[in-house]
Amino acid sequence: MNFQGLIALVKIELKKLVRQPANLFLTLLFPAVLTLMFGVVFGDPEMGMDINLIVPGLIVYACIFIIMTTAQSFSTERQEGLLKRMSTTPMTSSEFMGSQIITNMLIAILQVVVVFVLAVFIGFRPNGGIGGIFLAFPIVALFSLSSVGLGLITATVSKTPEVATGISFVFILPQMFFGTFIPLTNTTRQIAVFIPSYYVVDALSLIFAGDWTNSNILLDTGVISIVSVIIVIIGVLLFEKYGNA
């Protein structure tokens, strides 16, 4: 295993985040703005919602956009010939994919921190204290795997980064509407159970409600883990077979 190369690629991705304004906006500023706006507008009890109830959805909302950034990143690097060039080095494709997964897990953790800090700033007070954030990290990091996988699937079927941006909404919108903070009816919940983000929101809601011993958290985490691993494996296989040309 070439750890030196793997770490170098993680660093590049993090530099990309800082040096490319569009990436920085989508991954960190967008969730921050969203948290403040949604928190202020929908967090008001007069709107029939509560900031304490929408924070899990806001965290997931931020993480869903990793689909778009991953798809854009891979299709840009493919268009610029970088993926081909990297494939001529001794770096293996599993080391390369590993670097992408690690980077996006780090980004997801950073997103949790941003949303959490801003949410506390505008009145979020989780039951059982802020300790729940430490449980939120691994759950959201696992969920980010599915976003990377869906991003890879998007990049596989998209010829350009622009097309990838559009197609990514095929995966973003269902998760946004059925698995964030938009209230579900009995009917829409029937759909939501097929959406990975639904389980993340359910687990985070229980954690932030202070119900840490609820067995559903473990069940949700199990579903997220299995689904995310399956999606990322499918994404990697599809991209390597059809998307890397």
């Binding site: 170098a8 690629l9 590049i12 530099k15 010939g81 970088l82 081909k84 060039r85 001529t88 080095t89």
Partner: protein
């Protein structure tokens, strides 16, 4: 013949009955070729002749449809890991990270080759100096001119100090002065004992640099020899005329 025994002779690359087909198009059509160690070999031909496809097969980006090739004694169908440790590839498109500066770009690719940090820093400094990018080494590649990007592209290919370097149209987009300087630099690589496979459609480039030239058209090798031999054989003033006499077309027509 084992990989070890092949390495002992003086052949760096062996291409055997190589065919690459893309649906209806045969990009490489039964190519046979041997390139010696330490040789600067140019593949000359018009756009679409099959030069880049051949290089892409040799460095493992594409799989051959039929036939095979050995790079440094290793089979491109079986031993890509070993081949990748030997080669440096300068692609036709300047494939560098635009949001990184030159130094960062070079070092990233050095890390992918697992070069020790101190050695990597020294090589980076040397190559930046040799290709006249030392002063702009800390400037983001997005602010580089086309010629500067081409030079950075070449440095990235050479950071691993490869035994065999594939340079695919390395001077496209350079101004005449930068092109001449780069030719000198490429010539100096040969003096270091590296095997260089150059694809070009610049006649002067092939004539100035090559030990031998393989003229390729429609995926077939149509002529092979030193520039002097080819010009004498076809009673031509330059390689362009050689190509014209063989095919009835000019190399640059397709551009």
């Amino acid at each position: 013949m084992s990989a070890e025994s092949r390495r002992k002779d003086d052949t760096a690359i062996i291409i055997k009955d190589l065919v690459k087909q893309f649906e209806d198009v045969t990009a490489v059509d039964g190519l046979n070729l041997e390139i010696k160690q330490g040789e600067l070999f140019s593949l000359l031909g018009p756009n679409g002749a099959g030069k880049t496809t051949t290089i892409n097969i040799l460095c493992g980006i594409l799989k051959p449809t039929k036939g095979t090739a050995f790079v440094g004694g290793y089979d491109v169908r079986k031993n890509l890991k070993e081949i990748r440790a030997l080669i440096g590839v300068c692609p036709q498109q300047a494939a560098v990270f635009k949001f990184l500066n030159a130094r960062e770009n070079i070092e990233v690719f050095g890390h992918l080759h697992a070069i020790p940090k101190k050695e990597l820093r020294e090589r980076t400094d040397t190559l930046l100096g040799l290709l006249d990018l030392a002063k702009v080494g800390n400037k983001k590649a997005s602010g580089y001119s086309g010629g500067m990007l081409r030079r950075l592209n070449l440095i990235v290919a050479l950071i691993s100090d490869p035994t065999i370097a594939f340079l695919d149209e390395p001077t496209v987009g350079m101004d005449p002065r930068a092109r001449r300087e780069t030719w000198e630099f490429i010539g100096s690589l040969k003096n270091q004992g590296k095997t260089i496979i150059l694809t070009t459609h610049y006649i002067e480039e092939a004539e100035a640099l090559s030990d031998r030239v393989g003229i390729i058209d429609y995926g077939k090798l149509i002529e092979l020899g030193t520039p002097k031999e080819l010009m004498e054989k076809h009673e031509a003033k330059n390689l362009e005329e050689v190509f014209l006499k063989i095919t009835g077309r000019r190399i640059l027509e397709g551009l």
